[in-house]
C-alpha cells in the first residue's frame, strides 16, 4: 500500500518540477513550479501557525536566557552567560537531573516488568478485550486529577491507601508524602498506576505481531512455551518496548501535573525533578532569565532523545518489524 517515497519516482510529482527542487530546501513561495503551489497553499496555514507559536517563543527563550528579565517597567539586563554558569553550580539544578533520572529509571523498570507480564497473561486470556478496556481507565484521567486523588488516598489521617500501608506495616503515622525518604516513591506509584497500561497495550500489539510460524518452528525445534517466549516472542517485541520506554522517558520531561498536585516538589527537595524546579524558578520566583537557561538545557536533551527516537522509527529494519511484515 505504501508508495515509494524516493523523489525520482514519487507519483505525485511531475517531471517538470525537478529543476526547482534542487535549488531550494523548502518549497519556495516566491519561485514555485506551477503544480507545486497547490501543496504549498495547503500546507501554509498550518506551517505558519506552528512557526509563529514555536519559533518565536523559542527565540524569546534564547533571548531571556541571556538576560535578567525585568518586571513591569523594569528593563531587561543583558548578563551574558551568567544565567548558565549560575545554573551549573546550582545544586537544585543538578539534583533536579538526578531526581528526574532516578524517577524515570524506577518508574520504567516497574512499568515494563509489570506491563509486559500483564500483556503476556492477557494475550492468553479469554477476557482480554474486556479486561484491557478496564485497565485503560487510569490513562483517561487528567494527570492533575490523578495527583489530587492520590493526595487524598495518601493522607495520613483519612487516606485509604495510607490505611492499607499502615496496616501492612509499611508506614508509620506519617503519610508517604510527608517524609523526604518516601515521597519520591509516592509519586512513582502514581505514575506507575497511570501509565503501566500503556506499556501493556504496546506490548500486546507487539505480541500479536510475532509471526506465528516462528513460534511453530521453535516448537518443532524442541521448545516449550517458556522457551517460546524468551527465544522468539521477546526478541520480536523488543523494538516496541524500546519505543515505549523512550516515549515514556520523554513524557517524564513534560508532565509534572501530578507531581505539582501531590507534593509541589517537596518535602524539602526530594521530589523536585528538574521540570518541577523549572516551574518554580519561572512561576514562583519569577526569574525568567534563569528559567530560560534551564528550559534551554531541558529542550536540548529532549531534542537529542527525539532524534534517537526518530532514528529508530525510520530505520528500515525496525520499520518492518513494527509493521509486522514477515521475513520471506
Amino acid at each position: 500500500m505504501t508508495i515509494s517515497a524516493s523523489p525520482k519516482t514519487h507519483p505525485a510529482m511531475s517531471d517538470q518540477d525537478w529543476g526547482f527542487l534542487t535549488m531550494s530546501r523548502l518549497p519556495s513561495k516566491y519561485n514555485p513550479a506551477p503544480s507545486r503551489m497547490f501543496y504549498v497553499y495547503l500546507a501554509a496555514p498550518a506551517i505558519t501557525l506552528l512557526a509563529a507559536i514555536t519559533i518565536y517563543p523559542f527565540l524569546w527563550l534564547v533571548y531571556m536566557s541571556f538576560h535578567k528579565v525585568g518586571f513591569g517597567a523594569r528593563e531587561d539586563i543583558f548578563v551574558g552567560f551568567d544565567n548558565f554558569s549560575r545554573m551549573f553550580s546550582d545544586s537544585k539544578y543538578i539534583d533536579g537531573w538526578v531526581l528526574l533520572l532516578k524517577y524515570s529509571a524506577i518508574c520504567l523498570s516497574i512499568q515494563v516488568f509489570v506491563g509486559v507480564a500483564l500483556a503476556v497473561v492477557l494475550n492468553n486470556s479469554r477476557y482480554e478485550k474486556i479486561l484491557i478496556t478496564l485497565f485503560l481507565m487510569p490513562m483517561m484521567v487528567s494527570p492533575v486529577v490523578a495527583g489530587l486523588l492520590f493526595y487524598y488516598l495518601y493522607n495520613g489521617t483519612f487516606g485509604w491507601y495510607h490505611w492499607i500501608f499502615e496496616s501492612l506495616g509499611l508506614l508509620g503515622e506519617a503519610s508517604i508524602l510527608a517524609s523526604s525518604n518516601t515521597a519520591l516513591y509516592g509519586i512513582i506509584l502514581v505514575d506507575v498506576w497511570q501509565w503501566t497500561p500503556l506499556i501493556t497495550l504496546i506490548t500486546l500489539a507487539g505480541l500479536k505481531r510475532v509471526p506465528q510460524d516462528q513460534l511453530e518452528a521453535n516448537m518443532v525445534d524442541g521448545a516449550g512455551s517458556i522457551s517460546n517466549f524468551f527465544n522468539v516472542s521477546l526478541p520480536n517485541i523488543y523494538p516496541f518496548l524500546l519505543i515505549a520506554i523512550l516515549l515514556r522517558f520523554m513524557d517524564n520531561f513534560r508532565f509534572i501535573d501530578a507531581i505539582l498536585a501531590l507534593t509541589g516538589g517537596g518535602p524539602g527537595n526530594s521530589t523536585r525533578l528538574l521540570p518541577v524546579y523549572l516551574f518554580d524558578v519561572s512561576f514562583q520566583y519569577f526569574k525568567l532569565g534563569r528559567g530560560g537557561a534551564i528550559a534551554l538545557t531541558l529542550l536540548i536533551v529532549t531534542i537529542i532523545f527525539g532524534l534517537i527516537l526518530v532514528r529508530i522509527l525510520e530505520d528500515p529494519a525496525r520499520k518492518k518489524a513494527l509493521s509486522g511484515e514477515t521475513d520471506s
Binding site: 500500500m1 508508495i3 523523489p7 507519483p11 505525485a12 527542487l21 534542487t22 530546501r25 496555514p45 498550518a46 501557525l49 506552528l50 514555536t54 517563543p57 523559542f58 527563550l61 531571556m64 509489570v114 486470556s125 477476557y127 479486561l131 485503560l136 481507565m137 487510569p138 490513562m139 484521567v141 487528567s142 492533575v144 486529577v145 489530587l148 486523588l149 487524598y152 483519612f158 485509604w160 490505611w163 499502615e166 498506576w193 497500561p197 500503556l198 497495550l201 500489539a205 506465528q212 516449550g224 512455551s225 519505543i243 515505549a244 516515549l247 520531561f253 513534560r254 508532565f255 509534572i256 498536585a261 521540570p275 523549572l278 525568567l288 531541558l298 529532549t302 527525539g306 526518530v310 522509527l313
Partner: protein, 293 residues
Amino acid sequence: MASREIISYDKGVAIKLLKWISPVFLGFYLIWALLPLFIMFMASFKDLLDAFSVPDAGDWAGVTMFFDFSPTFTHYVALFTENNFGVYLLNSLFASIGSAIIAVTLGSMCAYSLSRSEFRGKKDLLFWIISTRMAPIVAVIVPLYAIFRSADLVGTLPGLILAYTTFNLPFAIWMLKGFFDGIPYAIEEAAQVDGKNRFQAFLMILPLAAPGIGAFVILCILFAWNDFLFSTIIGSGGAKTLPVATKELVQPQNIDWGKIMAAGIVTTAPMIPLGLLVRRYLVAGLTMGAVKD
C-alpha cells in the same frame, strides 16, 4: 486453512502454574487499576464526616466503614451553584473542541501536502514539526506566557485554544501524514483523469481517511481536556478549565474533599466514553504513530 492459534498441550509444571496464577494476577491488577477511581466515585457522595472516617490501622474488618454512609449529591450541586463549575465545564468543552477542530483542519491539509510531495529537507521539516510536540511544556510556557500577555490573550478562550494548538497541531500533522501515506495515490490520479482539479481530488479521498481523522479529533480533545499546565498559566482568569478548577479547590484550610472528588469525577467522566470510542487508535495516538494496533 490453518488456525491462527498457537497449539497448546497442557504439559509442564510451568504452564500449570501459569494457569493458576493468571486469574489471580489479573484480578489483583483489576482491583489495583480501578480502586482509586472507585474510591473517588464513592467519596464524591460522602458528606464531610463520612469522608474522613477511616478505620484504625490494622483493623481489616473496618473496610466496611467505607461503604457505611448515606450518599448525598450536595457536592455536585455545590460545584455548579457555588463554584461556577458550569462555566469551567463549558470552557473545557470549547477550548478542547476548538483546538481539536483547528488542529485537525489545518493539520490534515498540511499532512496531505507532506504526504504527497517530496522535497529536500522534508525529513528535517518533519522532525521540526514533531519536536514541537516533544518539547517540555514547562520550557515552552514561559515565553509563550510572555507573548500571550503582550497580545492580551492570557485568560481568554482563544488564547487557550491557541496554546493547546502548540501540541495538538504537530500531533495532527504527524499522525495524519502517516494516515495519508497509507492511502494509495492512485485514487487521486483516477479523479484527476476523470477531470477533477487537484483540490477536488484531495476532497475525494477524505471520506477514506474519515475514521482516522475522526479518531484524532477525539484524541486531540482528550489531550486538551486533560491538560493542566497550559490551562493554569495561560487560561487562568477568564478561561479556567476543569482540571485547573479542580486543583484550585484545594485550599490551605478546610479542604472539602467531597467536593474535590466530585470535581474529579466531573472532569474524568466525559473522557471515559471518549477513550472507549477511540480505543483502537489509542496505541497509535499515544506512541505518535510508532505502534499501530
